[in-house]
Symmetry: D2
Subunit: 368 residues, 4 copies
């Protein structure tokens, strides 16, 4: 009877003849070949061929700027130098965690994700603000003008809205994208908006400065693969019941595909608790920092679902070590087409920004 | 301070000036116009125009055989007869639950979902069996031959596999579909296989008799809308942290889009418990039956992640009132490319079927 | 960076210099000395003294019929024969699981727990029935008469009621015990009732044939130790967020203290799901059977909180391999002082018993 | 059917003929009579008699300084003036929430809980520090000396330790209390220590300045009632799966019994997440403040189980609006008898205190 009690959630239970440590060993055996940026295709093909000659299986993951090749099979027997010396190979990695490119083991320093208008990293606290959904051009312009005057550089707003009910407002779609693009240009703000499906990536990319992947899509692997090919930075929300490992594995899909401009976003998880819409899990921020080099921000609006709790949770996010927040602001929250109860009014937001500024100074971060 | 403690999870918290009962009233106000099957487009357009004349918003949801039109806005003031009498209108519904077409309120009798080879409904207990993934043609033929001899009519097998890690085996894709189709034809079995993305629907449809939507995709609304246009029955798995209402709302996307051949599948949810991979939630079966007319089956393989627990949970599913099970069987589970630990061996499966047959007799169901 | 991802929930995270495997080794090192039944105190004292001479710490756990002595410290270095040969020592166990006496490793065969009126074990399916609380003598007599006529041998009813609110009905206390005792004698039924505090054990023991420990008290260690000294069998409910290991560890407190007549009772756990009051976790039944020799029953009344779901869950419990159920029955559920919504009426209960009888025949169990 | 709320989880599902709103109305009918401090017993008896004459049920709750009398039954028909005018009656309350004395409805201003050495309230941030368990006098003196020099006024340390395993170190009991009392006196620090059972209250009271009720005992109602009679302030930890309402109801037991010096303590809840030992739920702090006047502090040591995460979560607690923290500090954490992995070293604690001091200045709180 194997060590069932110590079985981690994300590992399949062993059958009787297969011990936990055996499984782990097999897992540790997996390797990753990272090709140099711009390595030509024939070099990639040669590595794949060599892997297969060794009796292993190659999993090429072409990205925008480089290709990685996963190896599965009994890699314990490989002499790494066989592959490491081949033309075009940058490095050969033994995977000790299931995620690799997202791991701090691989990348000691904090990653800074840069947009033309702003950035996410260890010395800043980045604020993304705006309404839940793009309702019309007038309210977007009004909101953008207000936010830009306060120094906010990134504007959020949903054109495509994932909704539990088929009968709920589903966003204005392409018209919403057009508005976002126009308003972003007019006010010089970066646009952060959600892409819900692989088929929308090209459209959303043309309007947005940062592509948001929503909680429900954190494991939409087709979408992750499509977005991994984009040259735009990605905001990857944590799934509503995702472990840290699953979240970093979703990021790994993006990184492995070639997009290394990934910002994580905690937005509340589902628990038995009913004091707020979701349970905002700030306690994941320090573990994210320990295990990954990627920036992580917090969405207190969806996380609590209640504007009364947003300011306290925003300050707490900063104190916990998060690299920013994404917060909903609406000119008239009570008339919002979606999520009005969790949107701050303009004056509430202004007051929050003031508090964040004071706290950021103590935390050695600059509010951007 | 409003009745925050009585707020259901799936409703947004109210702001201070908006009471729970107000919200509820607004919700109750929503309506659904169901058009007759084959109502011509001009009739649909006329209804939409009329709705907009009333100052409301129309949400047309065209389906394969009929169109439904959701109405949002202040519907409390509408006189229903205005719409009910229009040409092509089948009925006008006030939505008292957020899901409507999936609700037993709307459809007293149990729905029977029929495939050419089998069916799902109140008088049968339907067994879907097969390996987690289509590994190669030989093992699929071996498994199909074994299952068909035992009277199993529906064969499962994944061609596209959603995997947490980008470095894990992701299925054989189109080659897998080809094998499934060939084996299904050779043995006269119905094929149940997963479609992971809207872009795959046409391909999967051509090989499968029933389209499976996986737990991670339960709220992939683009996929739900695409599958709602299919003429093939759908197996809709419950999301890993989905409430009953969210699950039925996902089904509602399918029904509202015109596909009313939907079978629900409980496959385990995520909790604090660690005695099995997921927590198989048989306790949702009676509430599903109470609130919906759709058939519901259980997947004890993913639900427990451990073959040792599969037989007991299969019998319990039948006793709890489920309409079937989907269970993983593999000729050599220890050599499976995925999920081997939860697959039954041939002899274990044969023994389970024997036990199910005895129990089904007592439960007044026929094993199919 | 240690193996944080594989850390089981119930183990403290390691600090940086202490690896998971080290911790585990330390744990494996722990030992248990089981003294012979009736070993005289001087023999016990001699063993304790010897343990301390070895530089270890002794944890004597005197029970009704025998004493066990836990050993903590660096036991890796001990030569077991030093202790094994001492007078009065029955055996010396290395603890590979944190629970030992409750483990199937230690006790291959299923335990049968016997009461004068009934029993719990692998060949029976035992029904405990009765109202949530003892409301008055008349309704208890009416209920007992009805149940006894149907062949039910064990009567439940709460005299002391744990209630979330200090303003709720808290049970009739000693008067309730008096009624239970009188009714049990009159109808020849065994009484199962809850003991909420160590100070009540003597009183409850004098009226009850089986002491129930409620979910909220599963880790009330003072109570567990007190009940471990009782000669009456114990019904140990699973805590509302207890893992299998914690539950078996609570049982271990009882066994280690000398009371080996323990029946486990699953009664629903707390999850995000809202389709029933709690989430009845039938999926724990097979793991309990795999890891422990103790009988396990199910309480579908508290588990679902809704009488409409009780019959299906009772049948499912039987099919899942449980050894019995505890179910609430009330002459007039709508007038019950507590938990009326989850109590079956007499006619519903009679019908359920009939269904259970048919199912039990197929499952090779006798309904008692 | 008194006392339970209209909230889904805690609520027994209604049967079909009993609507939610009916239930709610019955609930609103419940009342509470609060007697004046020192009202003589005959006045209390007279009120009880009057209540019963009205055909209702009286629930007297005698406390150290005053008595409250709950009323259940159909109170809708009562004319409140009948009771309000009686001698000794302070006020007559209609209970709109299940907790009343703990509610901000009843007590607009924040409560300040005072100890001889320190206090908990809106203008301070109170630090309780010390080892998990009292291991010996020398380490307690060493720790106390260190903490007092840094300005810490409250010393924690467990004499009675609730342990999952009967074979784990269970604390030094009375010897531990003696050490705590001696060290507290020597260094002029307030002692905070856990009381595990009603039978220990007198002993613990004689050594401690504040009685801690642990998470596992949050619903040990016998213990709550016993502690409600104490004149010492209480630190009430949140249960591992307790909702906000259940937590405030546990506080209500204390308040209703006469002890209004209650400080709440969030210490992590149980969820699916595995990135830390428990999931520290800082998101409950703002709702506690909204719904109750009681101070609330945070235990980041048990909440995360990992010292690496304690500083960030301590700062976040302060930013979220908590009134203090309780944190584990140990001279040599790696040699601790319990919970070493989550204890800070002296130098880590000193550094944390420095960070807290800076942050407290910005948050307009004084570190005490």
């Amino acid at each position: 009877m194997p060590g069932w009690l110590s079985r981690p959630r994300d590992q399949h239970p062993t059958n009787d003849s297969l011990s936990h440590s055996t499984l782990k060993k097999r897992h540790i055996g997996n390797m990753l070949v990272v090709m140099k940026r711009q390595a030509p295709q024939p070099q990639v093909d040669a590595v794949i061929e060599r892997i297969e000659q060794l009796g292993l299986k190659a999993h090429p993951m072409p990205g925008a700027t480089r290709t990685a090749i996963g190896i599965t099979g009994n890699t314990a027997a490989i002499d790494p130098s066989v592959l490491a010396g081949m033309p075009g190979v940058l490095e050969l990695l033994r995977v000790t965690k299931p995620y690799k490119l997202a791991s701090r083991e691989m990348h000691i320093d904090d990653t800074v994700v840069r947009l033309p208008q702003s950035q996410f990293g260890p010395h800043t606290f980045t604020v993304i603000a705006g309404p839940c959904s793009v309702e019309n051009e007038s309210m977007m312009r009004q909101t953008a003008a207000f936010l830009r005057d306060l120094g906010v550089r990134l504007l959020r707003g949903g054109a495509f809205k994932p909704r539990t009910s088929p009968y709920s407002f589903q966003g204005h779609g392409e018209e919403g994208l057009r508005i976002l693009k126009a308003v972003g240009r007019e006010f010089g703000m970066g646009i952060v908006t959600e892409v819900m499906d692989a088929s929308q990536v090209a459209d959303v990319e043309s309007a947005a400065d940062m592509l948001q992947i929503g909680a429900r899509n954190m494991q939409n692997f087709t979408l992750l693969k499509a977005v991994s090919q984009s040259s735009k930075p990605v905001l990857l929300k944590r799934g509503i019941a995702a472990t840290l490992e699953e979240w970093l594995m979703a990021a790994e899909y993006l990184l492995a595909g070639g997009n290394d401009q990934v910002v994580l976003c905690e937005r509340g998880v589902r628990t038995f608790a009913d004091h707020s819409r979701n349970t905002l899990d700030l306690s994941i921020v320090p573990p994210v920092k320990q295990h990954s080099h990627l920036p992580v921000i917090v969405d207190p609006s969806h996380g609590t679902g209640n504007r009364a709790f947003v300011p306290a949770m925003s300050l707490a996010a900063l104190a916990a070590g998060a690299d920013g927040i994404m917060v909903e602001v609406h000119p008239e929250p009570d008339r919002a087409l979606s999520d009005g109860a969790q949107s701050l009014t303009f004056s509430q937001f202004e007051q929050l920004l003031e508090s964040l500024r004071k706290l950021a100074a103590v935390m050695d971060r600059q509010l951007v």
